[in-house]
């Protein structure tokens, strides 16, 4: 669920973007590609074309279903949009280590997925 608690601010192109205690956006409307780049840069990661493909799938998923996907539906959505190789959990784990559903949702400016450990 989206949290309304502001833990800190992320500076993006001179704007102060509030983040919740787990690093997700407090205001989903704050998202821009620059916000995603800034979040990734904090983790020492540069977003590649392959990251952006997944971010787009995530944002489309949220626009359609009003919910951030857990891992299983994320795999399915990516497979449907980009083909089975990119929908493999290996590909997703490589791009978003630890938890693709959570890390991906954060970069895509979505609430933290609820049904997901």
């Amino acid at each position: 669920m989206a949290s309304t608690e502001i833990a800190r601010y992320l500076e993006v192109e001179g704007r102060q973007v509030p983040l919740d205690p787990e690093g997700y956006l407090v205001e989903l409307d704050d998202w821009t590609p620059a916000v995603a780049r800034a979040m990734a840069a904090e983790e020492g990661c540069e977003l590649t074309y392959e990251h952006w493909e997944i971010i787009e799938v995530l944002r489309n998923f949220y626009a359609r279903f009003e919910t951030s996907p857990a891992m299983r539906p994320l795999v399915k959505a990516v497979s449907q949009a980009l083909g089975p190789e990119k929908g493999g959990s290996l590909h997703l784990m490589k791009l978003f280590p630890d938890s693709p559903a959570k890390a991906g949702a954060r970069l895509a400016g979505l609430p933290k997925p609820a049904n997901c450990l």
Binding site: R72, P73, A114, N115
Partner: protein, 126 residues
Amino acid sequence: MQYPTVPPAGDVLVILRHSPHGSSWLREGLDAALVAAAFGQAVSLLFQSEGVLALVKGQGPGPLGQKGTSATLDMLAMYDIESLFLDAVALARLGFSSDELQLTARPVDQAATAELIAGHRLVLTF
């Protein structure tokens, strides 16, 4: 009307008995189904009694902007929840037919309902 001839089986049967918007029961039941499916359980849903209203087309947010459940229903297939059943008597009592629904669910009568319950390891009612 067609009724299932083979008793459907699965890990978890979630019975949804409440209509959208009036309470949080429907949403909580759907959430339980999604969690179970996210953990790889084979989940079936039975829309029973006023729960069949969850399937009616054209639903929107509540008057104060409260989120509805219609988008969640569309999402069920993404969680591989495709074993959907509905209480045929309740649907008819409320004056709806199957082609007026957002999703396809198999109508079940009383005997099929009992088989459905018997065929799942865990049954949760909401």
